[in-house]
Structure formats: C-alpha cells, structure tokens
C-alpha cells in the first residue's frame, strides 16, 4: 500500500523534519553560544548587525542570541515531548490491552486508576510532582510520562474490548495462537490507529506542557533555554522586545499545528482499508 501524499502534507512533514533536524543539529546550526551573555547587546531587534555579527532573530535581555536559544530550545521541547509520549504510550497501552483482554478485576482496578488520574488536574499533578522531585529536564520527562498514560489506557481498553470480540481474534485462537501472540500480533496492530491519533495529539500537548511548566519555572531551568522559558523571560519585555515571545511562540504553534495535521494523515495511513479507498 502506498501512502498518498498531497503537497500540503509534504510541506507539513518537511516542516516537522526541519524542526527535528534543527533540534538534533542545534550545536552545528546555532551561530552563537546560547548561554553567552553580553550586556552591550541587550534587547537588539531582529536583523541587528553589530560588530560584524548578525543577530537574525535579535537578542534577549541578557544579550544572548535569540536564534541560538530558539534552536537549543527546540531540542529541549522535542526531547521532552518524544520521551514523555513514548513512556506514556508504552505504559498506557500495556495497561489498556491487559485490562481489555483479561477484563474482570484487572479491568476494574486499572480503569478506576485511570478515572482517578483523569480527575486530578494535570497541571496540579505536575506541579506537585515537581515540588517533590525538584525541577529539571529528567524530572519533567518522568512527570509527564507517569501522568499522561491514562488517555492511552482508555483508548486501548475500549478498542481491545471491541477488537477482542471480532471473529478474526477467535479465528487466531482457533489456529492455536497463545494469549501473547493474539495480543501482540492481532490486537495491538488493529488498535494502533486510534492510539497513534492519541499519541500525536499528546505529542503536541506535551510540547505545550513542557512550555507551560518551563514558563512557570517548573521545567527547564535557566539559563538553559526552552521555548517556554524563553517566552517566560520575554514576558516582561513584551512591549519593548516583541521578538522574545513571538519567535518561540510561533515555533511552538507551527510544530503543534503540523503534528496535529500529520496525526490525521497518519491515522489514514495505518489503516490499509482507508488507504485503498
């Protein structure tokens, strides 16, 4: 089956690839050290040329090059989001699959836990965990990974209940497949579509979450840049130096938007029936 690619989709995927490359290759691409301060270069607007050096996106209140900071910030944002999504996807899907297949008390326990987790405001949970573990990149990832699994569990559970009733699951059992094979080879691939949709929307959300927590000072700690912490720093200068909030904000918006569009596209691609239409 060949994925159908439209021009719009190609642009979206190219943009995402560009962001990924920017994040990975930040040390090579950044024109300056994102941490180097210079009080002489404070709050220079985008395109400034000073002392033979050009600051494409301007500088911040401590005279650091914004382009370099945004590039390194992409790193933090994407890294946190990727790890958090993978962690919560694995945890959530495993729990949902088991609950849906085994039912009974396992399902009751797991789904009550899901209800409990979902009834606590995510931001409160994150703030509490950070308060206990302390702020920082690693803790941020752990917090997000361990608090964001319930949505996957819900979807995996509901989908497993549905798919487990389908004749081909029974046929697989009739052919002598064990529980592990039925779950891994037959149920998981058939519930992967909806899970991918959740994962992509969560991915966008994780980037926003990281930005939000860093904005609140609970995530990436200064002087290290992330989009959220750059915006937090730029907030007080918003009237004099709009670029400090607009550029990281625009990146945030563009990435999350592209991910959501890509998520819809992906959903159609993982289903061969949809692709054949």
């Amino acid at each position: 089956m060949k994925p159908r690619m439209t021009i719009g989709m190609a642009i979206v995927l190219a943009l995402l690839a560009a962001f990924a490359i920017a994040a990975i290759a930040a040390p090579l691409l950044a024109p300056f050290d994102p941490l180097r301060q210079s009080l002489l270069l404070r709050l220079k607007p985008p395109g400034s040329l000073l002392g033979g050096r050009s600051f494409l996106l301007g500088t911040d209140d401590l005279g650091r090059d914004l382009l370099s900071r945004v590039l390194f910030g992409a790193r933090a944002s994407l890294l946190v989001a990727v790890v958090a999504v993978v962690l919560s996807l694995v945890v959530g899907t495993t729990l949902g699959l088991l609950a849906g297949w085994l039912r009974g008390w396992v399902a009751t326990v797991v789904m009550r836990l899901v209800d409990t987790m979902l009834s606590i405001p995510a931001i409160l949970l994150a703030v509490l965990t950070v308060a206990v573990l302390g702020p920082g990149l690693l803790n941020l990832v752990v917090v997000l990974g361990l608090t964001r699994w319930p949505r996957y569990t819900r979807v995996a559970y509901a989908q497993t209940l549905q798919v487990a009733e389908l004749p081909y699951i029974r046929a697989a059992e009739m052919a002598g497949c064990g529980t592990a094979r039925v779950m891994w080879r037959h149920i998981l691939p058939n519930i992967a579509g909806p899970l991918m949709v959740v994962a992509t929307s969560e991915f966008g959300l994780m980037i926003l979450f990281e930005a939000g927590l860093s904005f609140l000072g609970l995530g990436i700690q200064p002087p290290y840049p992330s989009w959220g912490s750059i915006m937090a720093g730029g907030r007080q200068y918003i009237e004099r130096a709009w670029w400090l909030t607009v550029f990281p904000g625009a990146c945030l918006f563009a990435v999350v938007f592209c991910i959501n569009v890509a998520g819809d596209w992906l959903r159609d691609q993982v289903d061969p029936r949809a692709a054949s239409r």
Partner: protein, 316 residues
C-alpha cells in the same frame, strides 16, 4: 473404523439452562459428518466445546470429547493450544471477518504452522494452489480486503488444513457466500477430506448442503440430537418428525412456488421454556401425552441409524 472425533453425552449450560443436552456423535477419518438444525439449536457451541474455546458464559456440565482417543477436557490449556491448527482446525461462516485485516494471506496461513512466513513460503504457496487460489504468488502478500468472500474462505481452508489436522470443524462455511461459490467450496472440502483423510464436521442449517456433501448427518433440535444416520437412508425415510418436516421445507427448483413452501409451524422453544419431555413436542404433529412427560432417548433403529422419538415406528 477408528473414530477421529468421539463426543459422548456432551451437555453445555448457560445460566443453568441446558442449551446442549446429551449430544453424542463421532466422525471417522475421511468422513463428512453434518450437524444440521435451526439457528440457536447449539451447533456452534458444540463445535466450540470441541476446540475448547467456549464463551465464558457457557459451562460444560457433562460429557467427554475425544480426539483420536484422547479426552480433550483432561488436557492442560497449553496442550489444547498445541492441538489447535495442527490436529483440529475450524473455519467459520464469515470468512472475511475471520481474517485479521492487517495480516497478509501468507502470514495468516503460516501462523497455523507456528512459523514465520519466510520459512514456510513454499509450503504456503503450494497450499494456496491446492485450495484453488489462482496466482498464489500474488495473493500470498495481499490483505483480506483485496479478496472476495469465496477467496477468503479458501484462505481460511488453506490455513485450517496446512497443519494437516485430523479433524476439521466447518461452522456454516458457505452460508455467507453466493450459490455458485458455495458449491465450489463444498466440492473443495469434500475433495480435501477424501485426499487427506481429514474427518470433517460440517455445521449447517441447510439440508441441501447436507445432501450435497455429507456421508452421515446428525439432526439437532433445541440442544439435542433428534435423529442421526447415513445421509441417503435418512433422506429417503426420515424416522423423526422434525427431520421429515425439515426435508419437506427444502426448496427445489422444480417445485411449487416459494409461497407454498412447507414451513414448520411454531418456533424453537427458548432455553427457559424447556419442559421435561421431548423438546419438539410443542410443534410435532405426532405428539402424545408421553412425549410431553418423558424425553425420548436417542435409540438405535438399525443400519447405523438412531432416533429420539417415541413414535418413530408410526412413520414407517
């Protein structure tokens, strides 16, 4: 003749109601045994009990199921799993729904051999050819949605038979297919049973299918066997009123228009309505007081036939 499958006195219950009650039947190698009866009479549950994959709501109350002499109920779960696909296989009514939409034809069939496809590809191709799928080299990598219903059923048959099982359970394998395809699939099943010596239990509600393919038949009614015997003898002279009525309801092309089709009056009693006597008594033209009070046992009447009717001699 040694029996591949011997079911004795099988009873299954749902919430205390005996939906399968004292069913006994056997099939020999190379033989096609049909189980025929109206929808809901317990045919599929009987087959599920043989595969030991009963729905959770269903309990086996009594009876033994022997596959080549070994009582399946005594085996551990892992041992039964080892039998499935290798010594006993099953195919069902909706072949398209019975194939994983994301698996290819090849991986589906290879699964019965517990092998990755690349290791058994040649064998799978040969099997596809044997079940009459043209261009196996192309079909092997296709997905179910690219195949017709008839082709899906051939794929199911291929995956059921590639492990060379002694027993094939076919639960309404042609009900969802149109008539010409139905005949082809039945021919294929019969051919394979003969060539490979597979014992086949063919479940159907269609007496026409029974006449086409089966050697022997067990007529089921409301969870019990009403009558059993060789197909020709049973069709020529039924010895149970239910069998007679079923036979009279077969539409024939040369026959009268459909509107005057003989229809059995009344309906099958639900599990909650079973009385102490014969379960067919409420719809039977020959009912006498004894039928309502005492269930007739499935009694031999000669020539390998047996009937569960107090009044069968009135039918001679």
């Amino acid at each position: 003749m040694s029996q591949v499958l011997a079911i004795e006195n099988l009873s299954l219950s749902i919430a205390g109601a005996r939906v399968v009650d004292g069913v006994s039947l056997s099939v020999a190698a190379g033989e096609v045994m049909a189980i025929v009866g109206e929808s809901g009479c317990g045919k599929s549950l009987t087959a599920a009990a043989v595969m030991r994959l009963l729905p959770p709501a269903v309990r086996q109350e009594a009876g033994s199921i022997r596959l080549a002499g070994v009582d399946i109920a005594r085996l551990r779960e892992s041992e039964v799993r080892g039998l499935r696909g290798r010594r006993m296989s099953m195919i069902f009514q909706e072949p398209q729904a019975a194939l994983d939409p994301l698996s290819t034809v090849g991986t589906h069939i290879a699964q019965s051999l517990r092998q990755p496809l690349h290791r058994v590809r040649a064998e799978v191709l040969r099997m596809l050819d044997e079940v009459g799928i043209s261009d196996p080299a192309r079909r092997i990598d296709q997905h179910p949605f690219e195949l017709s219903g008839g082709m899906c059923q051939r794929v199911m048959i291929a995956s059921a038979l590639i492990g060379r099982p002694e027993l094939l359970l076919a639960d309404e394998p042609t009900t969802a297919l149109d008539v010409t395809i139905q005949a082809q699939i039945l021919d294929l099943l019969r051919k394979l049973a003969r060539e490979r010596g597979t014992a086949i239990v063919l479940i159907t509600h269609d007496m026409g299918v029974v006449a086409d393919i089966a050697d022997r038949v067990a007529v089921m009614y409301a969870g019990r066997i009403a009558e059993t015997g060789p197909v020709d003898a049973l069709f020529a002279a039924p010895r149970h009123p239910y069998t007679a009525l079923l036979l009279a309801s077969i539409p024939r092309l040369t026959d009268v228009p459909k509107s005057v089709l003989a229809v059995i009056p009344g309906r099958v009693p639900g599990a909650a309505e079973f009385g102490p006597g014969c379960r067919f008594a409420g719809r039977c033209p020959l009912t006498e007081p004894r039928c309502e009070a005492e269930p007739p046992p499935l009694a031999p009447i000669g020539d390998g036939r047996a009937t569960a009717c107090w009044r069968w001699e009135q039918m001679v």
